[in-house]
Amino acid sequence: MAKWMSVAQVKEKIIEDSAEEVTARYLEVIGKSKVNGYTKVSEKALEHARRIDSEGHDGPLAGVPIAIKDNISVVGLPNSCGSKILEGYVPPFNAHVIEKLLSAGAVILGKTNMDEFAMGSSTETSYFGPTANPWDLERVPGGSSGGSAAVVAAGEAPFALGSDTGGSVRCPAAFCGVVGLKPTYGAVSRYGVVAYANSLEQVGPLANNVADIAILMDVIAGYDGRDSTSIDSKIEYQKALVDDVKGLKIGVPKEFFGEGIHPDVEKAVWNAIHKYESLGATWEEVSMPNIKYALASYYIIAMSEASSNLARFDGTRYGFRESGENWHAMVSKTRAEGFGTEVKRRILLGTYALSAGYHDKYYLKALKVRTLVKQDFDKALAKVDLLMAPTMPNPAFKIGEKIEDPLTLYLSDVNTCPINLAGVPSVSVPCGLTDGLPIGLQIMGKPFDEPTVLRAAYTFEQNTDYHTKRPPEVA
């Protein structure tokens, strides 16, 4: 069995052999993992696959294994969010996307590593230790869905689910050389996904190719009454897989090619844009003047929401608890001990930004900037069909290189977080290598125009071979 298979190939293999055999093979690869991508491998995966073999299943993903980020609730598996504070917590309910996957017949291989509570771009802040980039084990896989990207890149799962608050699907997709989609806000239900910043995040798929992204979106997207921000777009994602970009208008926002961009990244992205041109698309430069404020706005909003979202982890009802002489002491000690440094930093900053006297100066101002950023996207996307830019300004950095310098680390989200402020869809696809490290091309579209975004990504893939490159170290 090949190590890297598309979903279509996996399905063939299941017919040829069995779901059990396919799952067993993935579990074997996971057993020899060099990347520390999983926080928990499911003990029930084989049994589940066996049941699908014996009982049969006519779902679109019958027997197909998948990896799930550790902030998405799965009954019977821990949902630790890469944090000590959720030690021992096993959700009694499935996330909406998990219900959808299970009814489609997918087999859950396990939970994947992440930055604690999705706060990070390197998967180094996890309580379970850092995940390695399969392309260079000394480097980070990106984050926060670093585990999901790394296991897909390492052939430890055909595809995976992540979540993207400010780039957490696209950044690791770019660093690990896989495809990752941040859907339009509202396209996928967030029910059962532990919130970091509710108004920004979406569940998103990671896979080795664009077709598999579409297959997964057809399963997980759609209206869910349990998420009041959910919208029924009725999009049929696989129908978008058309190899044709003729007449497509591409905008290239120069603000995404700012200071500090790696020359090879810039070159690879321009090569991609010229490739589109050669396939019949046109491009023009566009200006999005407020993008330079996006990062600051993003961090204030995300941290503010997070400071409130994470208040529930108080040791009272579930998870880790440190004892204290009274309730308040218990809560203080539990949170001091249970949260990592980065999480505490963001809770403190978010609390500060929402406090009386600072609320208007920071939080309210950030909301205003958010509106301006959104207007920049609206204006730009009124002129062109898609925007293209580098996903990450640089390739994957070394583990430990930036972790002591949070500000530098925050700056790596500069090209991804504006998308979350605007709520538009964006996909990262591999578009080259520099010194053996993958580069990601980011394709952004209008709200609920995933079909055009995916068509462009698919066309690029059909006419290039970047997505077929595999990390040599884990081959």
Binding site: N71, I72, S73, N79, C81, L86, Y89, P91, P92, F93, A95, R190, Y191, G192, V193, V194, A195, A197, N198, S199, G225, R226, D227, S228, T229, S304, E305, S307, S308, L310, A311, R312, F313, D314, T316, R317, Y318, W327, H328, V331, T351, L354, S355, A356, H359, Y363
Partner: protein, 496 residues
């Protein structure tokens, strides 16, 4: 007469009312009927705030809030949204309460009460929706408790918080406002005030037009009046001694009847409000006409109609409309053709008085058939008071067949026994019908009064005149009286 408000008292209220008749909670599908349930049996991942859960707004709660807003003559917001109020407390499973902040569903409104000097308008500042936290249960007393248990059955119950202007000028007016407010809510059928924790009040009070003090979490109308009386006295004493009133929050100790300082303004918590990102802003303008249609006749209107239609006194009308179920009960009785004034007296004066005396409250009704009362201290004691029984009783009384003492006895008997007997059964069993002897006595009295000549003759020694008088009594009683008894009664009366 204009009330001078000599002490410059200003009272404003913040009233939390549980919308406990909506069947489900505010943001999840859990049943809201938890009041007699074991702890933590009416919970789900959402109202327990488990990670990853999201709120879904109960549309009925919004409709109820609009209904309340319309009844308070409040402005209904065109666009309304929810905010998070952030604070840590063990009964708060998410570490924040979902509430409304700068876009409340109801804006300025008013309630007219009977004030110190006649009709008095109390302004409503706003009313907003929010969720109830869980409930702490102390093992033993608060001071000596070895531990605290948390019951999340209440968590996520829909609440409406109504804030008034500081328009009340005495504790009595505050109490009258609360009675009126509760009355209105019960009419709207969104609220059952008899349930524990259904209404909680915070009162802001100041004297001499000065700095206000907040007294928090008072659970009864009587408690509000007591807390305010105490707090006004305390503030006046402080000022008399040359002290200053400071902006602070105090707690009312129901047992001791005093208020105790909880925290001053400097220690006030910063709740870091921000818009709840998991709930979308709502536009409810389109809902209003349909909801307005469902508004019932409100207490003031009903009271005026009762006076007009039934010719009853304002006091009776007020008592009868104090509860919508009682008002319906009265109308059902009158519909059967009894004298409305007599019916009003028996229902408003006697029945209500006897219910109060027994701690019985009206908990439910079967319209046109009966009201169902239960004992507040012992809910197992349940009494049905049927319309037909009241009609029967009032008719007996109106026709002079029973005395008013007997009628009171019938009502007491109905309330004191769980055997459901009709007034007729009780009257017969106890022999309450104005007995023959009563009738004979009446006839004797009348005969003596009407036949002065015969009486004088008899007293003058004409024995025959006595036979005449007995004959007159026999005639009056249509021969039903016993002649011997009549004779004895006449003699008794004449020798008096």
């Amino acid at each position: 007469m204009v009330y001078e408000n000599p002490d410059g008292i200003r009272i404003g209220l913040e009233i939390h009312v549980q919308l406990n008749k909506l069947k489900t909670k505010m943001f999840c599908g859990c049943s809201s009927d938890y009041h007699n349930a074991a702890p933590n049996t009416h919970t789900c991942p959402i109202c327990l705030g488990l990670p990853g859960t999201l709120p879904v707004l109960n549309k009925k709660a919004v409709e109820a809030a609009i209904k309340v807003g319309l009844a308070l003559e409040g402005e209904i917001a065109e666009e309304t949204q929810f905010h998070r109020k952030n604070y840590f407390y063990p009964d708060l499973p998410k570490g924040f309460q979902v509430t409304q902040y700068d876009f409340p569903i109801v804006g300025k409104g008013k309630v007219v009460i009977e004030g110190e000097d006649g009709e008095h308008v109390v302004g409503i500042t706003r009313a907003h929706m929010e969720e109830d936290p869980g409930k702490l249960v102390h093992i033993g007393s608060i001071e000596k408790s070895k531990g605290v248990l948390i019951d999340y059955n209440r968590s996520g119950m829909p609440l409406i918080e109504t804030v008034t202007e500081p328009d009340m000028r005495s504790p009595k007016e505050a109490r009258r406002f609360l009675d009126k407010f509760r009355n209105i809510l019960e009419y709207l059928d969104v609220f059952d005030g008899n349930l524990e924790g259904a209404m909680r009040v915070d009162a802001n009070v100041s004297v001499h037009w000065g700095t206000r003090v907040e007294v928090k979490n008072i659970s009864s109308h009587k408690g509000v009046e007591r807390a305010l009386l105490y707090e006004i006295m305390r503030q006046k004493n402080v000022i008399r001694r040359g002290g200053k009133i400071t902006l602070e929050t105090r707690h009312f100790d129901e047992g001791r009847g005093v208020t105790i300082s909880m925290r001053t303004k400097e220690e006030a918590e910063d709740y870091r409000y921000f818009r709840e990102p998991d709930l979308m802003p709502m536009r409810v303008t389109d809902w209003i006409p349909a909801i307005r249609e469902t508004l019932p006749e409100l207490p003031d209107a009903k009271r005026a109609r009762f006076i007009e239609q039934y010719g009853i006194t304002d006091m009776h009308a007020k008592a009868l409309t104090s509860k919508i179920m009682l008002a319906d009960f009265h109308e059902s009785i009158c519909a059967q053709g009894v004298d409305p004034k007599i019916a009003a007296t028996w229902t408003a004066d006697v029945l209500l008085g006897e219910l109060n005396y027994r701690d019985l409250v009206i908990g439910a009704d079967v319209q046109g058939y009966a009201i169902i009362c239960y004992n507040q201290k012992n809910p197992d004691i349940v009494r049905h008071i049927r319309v037909n029984d009241m009609v029967e009783l009032v008719t007996f009384f109106a026709e002079g067949k029973i005395s008013d003492r007997a009628a009171v006895e019938v009502i007491r008997s109905i309330l004191d026994s769980k055997e459901e007997k009709t007034p007729l059964q009780i009257i017969e069993e106890r022999g309450l019908l104005k007995a023959e002897s009563d009738l004979v006595t009446m006839a004797v009295e009348e005969t003596i009064a009407e036949n002065e000549a015969a009486v004088q003759d008899y007293l003058g020694g004409a024995e025959k005149s006595l036979n005449f008088l007995v004959g007159q009594v026999m005639k009056k009683t249509k021969g039903t009286a016993d002649a011997k008894t009549a004779r004895e009664l006449i003699l008794k009366e004449l020798k008096g």
